[in-house]
Symmetry: C2
Subunit: 365 residues, 2 copies
Amino acid sequence: MDVGSMVRAQDARPARRVRVAVDAMGGDHAPGEVVAGSVDWARDHPEVDVCLVGDEPRVRACLDGPLPDNVSLVQAADSVGMEEQPAAAVRRKRDASINVCMRLIRSGDADAVVTAGHTGAGVASAILNLGRSPGVDRPALAVQMVTDRGPFVLLDIGATTDSSGLNLAQYARMGAIFAERVLGVARPSVALLSIGEEGGKGEQRVQDATVMLADSGLHFVGNVEGKDLPRHPADVVVCDASVGNVTIKFFEGLSSLIFEMLRSEFRRWPLGPPGYLLMRPGLARIRARFDYERVGGAPLLGVKGTVLITHGRAKRRMLGYAVEVGAAAARAGIPDLIAKALAPAAALPADKTVDMADPATVAAP
Amino acid sequence: MDVGSMVRAQDARPARRVRVAVDAMGGDHAPGEVVAGSVDWARDHPEVDVCLVGDEPRVRACLDGPLPDNVSLVQAADSVGMEEQPAAAVRRKRDASINVCMRLIRSGDADAVVTAGHTGAGVASAILNLGRSPGVDRPALAVQMVTDRGPFVLLDIGATTDSSGLNLAQYARMGAIFAERVLGVARPSVALLSIGEEGGKGEQRVQDATVMLADSGLHFVGNVEGKDLPRHPADVVVCDASVGNVTIKFFEGLSSLIFEMLRSEFRRWPLGPPGYLLMRPGLARIRARFDYERVGGAPLLGVKGTVLITHGRAKRRMLGYAVEVGAAAARAGIPDLIAKALAPAAALPADKTVDMADPATVAAP
């Protein structure tokens, strides 16, 4: 996976300082690693402003020196825990760090939010505070997967589950805009991830989306299978979060397992250590390809603002990448493009929208 | 992945010759590779009878010598193509090889069926000709995944999609019997594959199944995530086929990619070839762990007979493993055990059963 292509995205907005709000209280290693990763990154990137949002005394306690000029603190007295029911917690805790972050976007004081906190809370807070883009029924988390034939976009990897065919068709539209804008693909190919290549196979929602996409004006290339994912099956691959999330996490688990196995084989075999020395550059290149930390995080497409959700287990290195991707995503101006592209198709029936009062519809990895 | 543990399963039935019917016309490389793989395997295993079911002249044309004594041919004039709508084709083509195979089980002339043909056709033909086990709403395809901590069972990997919570709960029961009987685990742990470990997260069907399993008498350990799969998250891991199929095929695609990358790095780097020689034994061990051909195939649990569905792209080596797993599965007597365990819970509402007239409910990878 690769973060570089995001940074290469053309600048849509006038050249001015980009401001990234970081949810300092979100994540398994918050605030310590989140603060450290953000500050380290900000020191190396004086052209971007970083705002740490959290309980100020606790955030200050994590600092190992004076704040760089481009880092500021914003007080948020409360936070949403990983074990809380996200939609309810976000509604109840008005001053939770994630809500304060989103309000910084709404008030124009930040261009992007980065959070390693509960995905469901991030999604719920974005919907509540920023609102969905016109014509978007449900937002979706998109991740870039890198292959030998270039990167592609996989979505939804965890914003909501139990999506409909209509939801999948909207994900396809949003993913295509992302691929155009961020990957620089002129007319991105779009595929549905399914259990067979034939259109008549697979889940009902996939079959429904197949019909809608055939008629959508998108460059829809049909269904692809799990085995195709490592070979760049299309520029945009669309699925329900139940499939996308298991896939991306399985990738994470399997990648680390394979490298552990290589390491242990190098050790147990008498000729392993010299073999390892000889092979080190090649192995490093392969490892870099499977380095999920460099992804940084997944942009939440379909809300009125740039929101990047990173790994709950992110430590300082991954947090730095997340802030970088957040800044690049803000420059790319995806939310406006999505609003422009999807708005005419809007006016969805009310029963199809995400019900914030119903925890089942806002699930999260 | 590993096929050995299946062969080690205790014998449930009186020691007599096991008879495996092979669908000679099913699969991307049928009949050539299917016939060759079955005959090769039968030559090495005179204790098992193999019956090749297909169009006799075409099957005979694939033979490279006289039939071994333990191989017989059964005529089937017709076959189901990979591109046909499976449930309809199975109903229409009474003499399709897959139907003739199933009837050999029903008449007591075979103990197991092995097919590399269309999964949906195999599932539909098994339901039509053998029937579902009492108390089983939908059958499920189960596969063994091997980890450092031993094998576990993953199901459903492709029998049907759009399963309900009740379906998942039944898969859990069938998987537990399989784990007990084939993996030899006394009280197998059972988990649901979801997008988070917390019970309140994930798809509606997963939440429904969570409630049912908590109260089921099974050793239910909750939800596991994709990242846990390579580490033996539980003895039985349950999901809808949309998730299981993408996962297993992604595994297949990723495994071959990683070994291709290793090979190409060994080649491009000047010190690679000597490094490779030094590392060869270790790499071979890792490769064996990710050798999906050795899995042989996936038993279809929940029908009244032993049916093993192998990879559509299976060539002779994998076909041999499939026949071996089919024979072992027949000896293990899983269908009877499932019938005994699930029958009391039977009497499902009619609208919950798989409608053979509705193609959408019999989907396939």
